[in-house]
Symmetry: D2
Subunit: 131 residues, 4 copies
């Protein structure tokens, strides 16, 4: 893999675990989202605005390789693997403190306006996203 | 207590537990909310609509008396304990299958319009809410 | 597709939406999980027990086709598409009240014991799961 | 009020909002919890461990004064207002970037062992908690 476009450092909250003691699986997507949004903000791009729209998902997947538990420090690198006309495909990993990949996934978002209609990425968006 | 205005039957999802094995505490409020919304719908009242508004909370509290675990069948009775000009104060319990009260709380909601501004309860709303 | 092994009827809670007005995307997995657990219970199979173990996910994916909003009645059919030595692969859909598929996904779970170690599906489990 | 025992800086995630555009109300408790856990870690105290136990809640309340929206930077000061034999009562606020209090609440936790049984605060715990 190339160097990630961004890295978001965070941790696993007690609230994100389930009775097994491990992170409840859909919370991987919340960590992916926090990394995506931190990256968008770092580039000055819209995250969400009722009038201006946002980036709903059309696809999300995750492979779970190792459990994550309460208080674990994580590093969430991200890559942009494809820019479509209106869509962005992201790859994310959740690495633990010893650098092992615990979860890895892909998410495809689509740029929509305030009415939820897809709209082409602007030149500025495309450039900020590395296209 | 008088008879409840409504009873909502549900169960504790695995996703609602935390690593202790018990329901993570803020999920009591999600169960209160589901009961409140089921009651509102049963009365033909608005739950939420972007144009017409909704019922944001100004207060929420809960006392936790007994743990709740994965798959437990619950009964959530509710009472309306006060109607203000724009506000409704609710009491909720979460009872387990043997009738023991596991959680008990109060929530105050305010009727707002689509811009989030409080507006007086209508005569119809007041009547449906038992006022 | 063949007939589903099970159908779980539910609804989209206000708490599951985000500021766009649509269901926040990871909540599709919570609806898949509720359907999976309702099915397991209907077959007398374990959902989760600290001593006996459970079914952690090793893969989860979802395609989002249409938005889902507050209060929408949903039907969640499920299919078991593969039984491995220790794993079960599920397909889920979330259909709206007019029968349109709004989300569709696959989840692979692995049967683990109370220490989180994979263990082969028993003959009874395999039979109950349609193998 | 006296100076807070701790301040936790964070932000409101898009995932924490609901269709009204505002933070969904139970998420205030997740922000309280993150502040509580960050404080416990800063003092070298247990957050949660299956064998050693944790701090389940017996009471939680919140007053909501101003809406919080996606991406808002927040400051969560906390105070310990009472130490009982086994219990700790906390006060939390969620302040926005201009210093306004948007939410304010109280939570009472009880120190339990790995079997969920209350146990007296140790001298070390009491001292670390400011008693």
């Amino acid at each position: 893999m190339t160097d990630p476009a961004y890295r978001h450092r965070s941790e696993i909250g007690f609230a994100e675990t389930d009775a097994s003691g491990w992170m409840h699986f859909p919370n991987a997507f919340l960590h992916f989202e926090r990394a995506e949004h931190a990256f968008l903000r770092s580039k000055g791009l819209l995250v969400f605005d009722r009038a201006a729209g946002g980036w709903p998902r059309v696809h999300a997947s995750c492979d779970y390789r190792r459990p994550l538990v309460t208080g674990e420090r994580i590093d969430v690198p991200l890559w942009i693997t494809r820019l479509g006309t209106s869509s962005v495909t992201w790859k994310f990993r959740i690495n633990n403190a010893t650098g092992e990949t615990c979860a890895e996934g892909d998410v495809t978002t689509v740029r929509v306006d305030g009415n939820g209609k897809p709209q082409p990425l602007t030149t500025d968006e495309r450039q900020a996203l590395g296209g």
